[in-house]
């Protein structure tokens, strides 16, 4: 066969990956604990 699989599924950036995964993290990819920050 002439199979070809795209491991990125067209997602060009890590922010696209996170958005596709339904994540809504601080600045897109930061784990941020407000209590810790205080």
């Amino acid at each position: 066969s002439d199979t070809q699989v795209d491991v990125d599924d067209g997602k060009a950036d890590l922010f696209d990956v996170n958005e596709g995964a339904g994540l809504d993290l601080f600045e897109g990819d930061i784990l941020y604990d407000e209590r810790e920050q205080k």
Partner: protein, 676 residues
């Protein structure tokens, strides 16, 4: 920009633990990212061996990290599905090391305009900025090329960009995820006080007259000369390719008038290895006779041989050609040494000689195969969209044959991109028949080389894929990485050679064409792809835990993350049994860690927070500052009660005693006076 506060810094050697749930390919790419840190900074990484704080890398739903060392013991960093790209991993680790995104620095409004009305509703918080009392840009100018910068379309609600650069030329530059920029490295090295990088040894483009401290060999009959052009070729160096008047030097050994057998030795300065393996990379131009030769030697020094001992490494297979050829030579040196380039005049007549430029020596593994695509700009423009070109077939040291497929002009769905796919191919019949199929855990890396002179400043673009022996072809029962003769298609090359090409794994968004045109990805018109196949089956078993603790790091998800689809069970190679340890018999609860004390006795080190802790020989009890307050109050009340009882008892006893005494004496002194 970096978070301010020494408490957020890690030690220069960062302990890490790769969780079991990570994809095997991701584990391999994480180790490649660590290698880039070692090459370009003084940051090193070591497997967690019980240190109080460490980075636990796991497969969450997405790619994310905290900023800085939060000193929470196990600090999580997620490399989820789709995050196993070296630049993504480097980006997340820069967060962990203490860096925010570039466009959040305090002076960002001087350099970019945030288009607030184009941002998706509720996502405006992603464009916060920090004042310069909480973050520092470490005295480095705003960096559009930072790998920590958002791209122009980040969090947009339509088709218009959310970030507009004040200098329009940088509109498509922001958001690069190829490699560390120069400023990324400057900031990292400033923040951690790096004086030198861990695995870099030397680089030389011969632009300075001191030729990087190289010396002419003492036992030869001719010399290498520093020149900018040679009549018989090359006419320019490789560093600048003649673009800068007054610059552009290389080293040349003329074989025009030399006597047959004459040698010219060019020796590097003294180098001090740490790892015991090195890669020598250089560009070589042979305009001499076929019989002229370049050989690589090393001169090793130790106490017994203070003048050095010569050791032959290899002769370079580089026949005369009208181009600068790229060569790699693997070295294995563990003593102080010099690299020696030995030119030898052959038996034939020559109109030129041997030339060297852009030398790099680093303690890294050499790439195995080179695919040079000539006139790459034209190839990008003239190849029909959706059409792939293929590299030659390369033979790996494991016996498998593979090649790279490249879409130079993108595809209909992804125009303006380069697509890159790796394929196994059929090789020699007898060899293929002797191999294990499906191929297991072979990681193929495809790197488009940034041909910058200095290896530390390169932003090469690389992607890796790994042959998972359990992967099947969609809609079929065939294994994806089975023998290409079984699952591949027959192809015929231009010269009539026939072979089988197996299914491909890769990406349609390898690199944008615009970025491929930038930097030194194309030099002298050519692009250079470096290809390697590595066995990474050793990454399939779990990373050993420190002193065999039973407190295994868990893989909890952030509350915003979706649950992860369970990974199918995959057969894992058997691992050798570990030697028994006193910790084998000790179970530490509540994330405690078993360590051996000075006497070799296993003890649990319990987890501790700001106002809580675990205690007990197995960390089975939890304590907190609140518990202490309760304990103190209860204890005080008890002491008070006991004192009251003692006082009352004493008073009653005394009263009885004096009453009896007074009765006996017939005395009528009032009791009250006696008590007083």
């Amino acid at each position: 920009n970096s978070i301010i506060g020494d408490q957020y810094k890690w030690p220069k050697t960062v302990p890490y633990y790769l969780q079991d749930d990570l994809d095997v390919n991701a584990k391999g790419v994480i180790l490649k990212a660590f290698e880039q840190y070692r090459l370009k900074s003084c940051i090193d990484f070591k497997p967690w061996s019980g240190e109080e704080n460490y980075i636990s890398v796991f497969k969450g739903s997405g790619c994310f990290s905290s900023v800085g060392n939060r000193r929470v013991g196990k600090q999580r960093l997620s490399i989820g599905s789709g995050c196993d790209r070296i630049a993504t991993i480097e980006h997340e680790f820069l967060h962990a090391l203490g860096f925010w995104h570039e466009q959040s620095r305090s002076d960002r409004d001087d350099y970019v305009t945030i288009m607030w009305d184009r941002i998706s509703e509720g996502r405006e918080h992603n464009f916060n900025k920090y004042n310069d009392s909480t973050s520092s840009s470490l005295n480095v100018p705003y960096d559009y090329t930072s790998m920590m910068h958002y791209s122009k379309n980040a969090f947009r609600n339509g088709t218009e960009p959310t970030i507009v650069t004040k200098i329009p030329a940088f509109a498509d530059v922001i958001g690069q995820r190829m490699e560390f920029s120069d400023s990324d490295l400057l900031k990292l090295n400033r923040m951690y006080g790096c004086a030198r990088s861990s695995t870099f040894l030397d680089t030389c483009d011969f632009e300075r007259e001191n030729i990087c401290g190289m010396i002419q060999g003492p036992e030869d009959q001719a010399d290498w000369e520093r020149v900018s052009t040679v009549t018989g070729g090359p006419t320019t160096d490789y560093t600048n390719l003649g673009r800068c008047t007054g610059h552009g030097y290389f080293m040349h050994f003329s074989t025009v008038s030399a006597t047959s057998g004459n040698k010219a030795l060019l020796e590097s300065r003294l180098l001090y290895p740490k790892r015991g393996y090195q890669c020598l990379q250089f560009f070589y131009y042979n305009s001499g006779h076929t019989s002229d030769q370049l050989s690589i030697w090393v001169r090793e020094y130790d106490e017994a041989n203070p003048n050095g001992t010569l050791r032959f490494i290899q002769t370079i297979d580089g026949p005369p050609q009208n181009l600068w050829q790229l060569h790699h030579v693997s070295l294995a040196v563990s003593k102080k040494f010099r690299v020696i380039f030995e030119g030898t005049k052959g038996s034939g007549s020559s109109a030129g000689g041997l030339s060297l430029d852009d030398i790099n020596v680093s303690e890294t593994m050499c790439p195995e195969h080179i695919w040079r695509v000539n006139n790459f700009l034209s190839v990008m423009e003239t190849t029909p969209q959706g059409t792939a070109i293929y590299s030659p077939r390369f033979h790996s040291k494991y016996g498998y044959t593979f090649q790279m497929g490249l879409y130079p002009n993108g595809t209909i769905d992804y125009p303006g991109e380069l697509g890159a796919f790796a394929h196994l191919t059929s090789g020699d019949n007898a060899v293929d028949a002797s191999l294990e199929w499906p191929s297991a855990w072979k990681q193929i890396t495809m790197m488009l080389m940034d041909q910058n002179t200095d290896i530390r400043k390169r932003m090469s673009n690389q992607r890796s894929i790994t042959t998972d022996p359990t992967q099947v072809i969609a809609g079929s029962t065939n294994f994806y990485w089975d023998n290409p003769r079984k699952v591949g298609m027959e192809v015929t090359e231009a010269d009539g050679t026939k072979y089988f090409r197996g299914p491909g794994l890769g990406t349609y968004v390898y690199l944008t064409q615009a970025r491929a045109r930038s930097r030194d990805f194309i030099k002298g018109g050519d692009a250079i792809f470096l290809l390697t196949m590595e066995d990474i089956s050793h990454l399939v078993p779990s990373q050993p835990l420190p002193s065999t603790t039973t407190a295994k790091p868990n893989t909890s998800q952030p509350t915003t993350a979706k649950p992860e689809t369970p990974k199918p069970e995959t057969p894992k190679p058997t691992t050798t049994s570990k030697p028994s340890s006193p910790c084998d018999k000790v179970t530490c609860e509540n994330d405690g860690v078993c360590v051996l004390d000075n006497g070799g006795v296993a003890v649990c080190r319990c987890k501790v927070g700001d106002d809580w802790w675990y205690t007990g020989d197995r960390c089975q009890f939890k304590g907190s500052t609140q518990d202490w307050i309760v304990t103190a109050v209860v204890a005080s009340v008890c002491v008070l009660a006991v004192m009251l009882i003692v006082t009352i008892t004493s008073v009653v006893c005394l009263k009885k005693k004096y009453k009896k005494r007074m009765q006996a004496a017939g005395d009528d002194i009032p009791y009250q006076h006696a008590a007083v």
